[in-house]
Assembly symmetry: C2
Homo-oligomer: 338 residues x 2
Amino acid sequence: MEIEKKRVAVIKLNDLCLQVFDKLGIPVAEARIITEVLLAADLRGVDSHGIARLGFYANGLRTGVMKPHVDPVVVSETTVTALIDAGGGMGHPVSYRAMQMAIAKAVQHGLGLVTVRNSNHFGIAGYYAMMALESGCIGMTMTNSAIFVVPTFARNAMLGTNPIAVAAPAGKERPYVLDMATSIIPFGKVETYDRLGKPLPLGWATDETGRSTQDAARVIKNAERGKKPEGGLLPVGGEGELMGGHKGYGLGLLVDVLCGVLPGALYSDQVYPHDEAGHALPSGIGHIFGAIRVDAFRPLAEFKASMDDLQQRLKNAPRAEGAHLHPRREGVRGSRET
Amino acid sequence: MEIEKKRVAVIKLNDLCLQVFDKLGIPVAEARIITEVLLAADLRGVDSHGIARLGFYANGLRTGVMKPHVDPVVVSETTVTALIDAGGGMGHPVSYRAMQMAIAKAVQHGLGLVTVRNSNHFGIAGYYAMMALESGCIGMTMTNSAIFVVPTFARNAMLGTNPIAVAAPAGKERPYVLDMATSIIPFGKVETYDRLGKPLPLGWATDETGRSTQDAARVIKNAERGKKPEGGLLPVGGEGELMGGHKGYGLGLLVDVLCGVLPGALYSDQVYPHDEAGHALPSGIGHIFGAIRVDAFRPLAEFKASMDDLQQRLKNAPRAEGAHLHPRREGVRGSRET
């Protein structure tokens, strides 16, 4: 009964999305991909990247920052690599196609790596990484994004939450899926704390002085679009170097190198630019999609058996005293929220 | 004068290493590679992975856990991938060769990815990633390693410090080099605190209950080789999920999937096994080496110019109030110590 209710809700949301995207001028084949990616986020429990984002996309389409239909151009291609220019279109359809290309190259040659420039927000990174699983491949996806993250020892945000997603197939166990922002928390969590009137834990975000703050409203105000952001979210590992914050910063920067610099997209504080009147211009962000065919290295069945064994070792490991797992976080998974 | 002194010291250390490795039965060509990698660590300031490790290697060679000379076997190969069995030999020469293969494949086809199994400790990961730079490639290296790291919410170490290294070329600026353990700190830092009699900062390591501890001696005792380790180092992001510790855990696990499971090496608590009498057996660890040829995506000169610009943006960004950089950590670099 619970499952039936959920099924009906998903069908209704699916239809709603398709209608909205149709009104916004998006061709039905592309609308189906966008909808699929958004609903996958909700079904995985990553509410911040699901259909709650419809308004964000609708706004981008209305202001012309996102184009409703573009034929992406393959700028360059080798047997195992490609660069695609997304022409400022929606991020999801071009990303779906780029990941398909990476997988096809990996199936044929062992590896595939496709970068995309001139794109837009593509939903959850994990969706694309997981596309590789059914082809017996390890999938990898990264994207740069709107700047919210403060480099270690810096005062202002200079990087996006720049997620890294990797998926690897398993046998009886669920696949390994890592889908993590390189910041401690997504920006949406600051907004949630603000709505609830709760103080932020120290170490999540900084104010305009560059020091850790508990004031969610201030962090939101300092990050307003259309002006230079002040303060922002801290990278994984937190403030300074004591708990490894410089490593989270290094990882976020890696994503900017691979998604911004490598495809010739915008990077660092160039992304999501505004004109002099404060109007938003196309975001200019980039992505990278990779696939590794497992049996180029080792028979897939053996790999899957080892993945099962690895997961069982971790699941059966004794728990720390006082530790209580969130049920959705049971097992070997990384963050559920980018 | 200072430089001349340093040059003489390096030459002396170089000769010392070559003599030691000669006595231990390592052929000179391989001894040269090992020495080069060890000295590179010292010259980069990563003392924990430099010639201070001579004793560790000598011990491994004397007990037969590391073999002084092995001809590694290429088990499988495609245009862009390869799997090498290191046969229990020293980690450095096979890693040097594997990275050379990855680079040669990338130069010819755009990408190269080579995994190694049945290997040993290879020194600093960053050395191999940086080998890609002079060929206009982005280099990537990971390895799994002796288990010291406690998964989020677990009581005992189940993963190595599993470093990730990536290097990308720049123009006038120094290359981007990330070389980071996926734990907050390397185990050597616990030993340093113990020697100095200093309490560990809470959040770096756990004791046998799985709770954060300040007692360095206890952490060392609990990690003694030849028995099941209890407690251990915490992943980047620290204890629990509050500061993103589950993300550090997810990254460490990623390294185990790519270096342990993919090449068919040992993984998780299988590595560095002991026989029933408590004698060390070959470590059985694995590595991965990747190269991406930049101009498969974008002209190298353009990429380098953007890397310079990215670094300058970060270096010129206003500093947080009260932040003082360690001079060796100036700029965009990640951790200097794995």
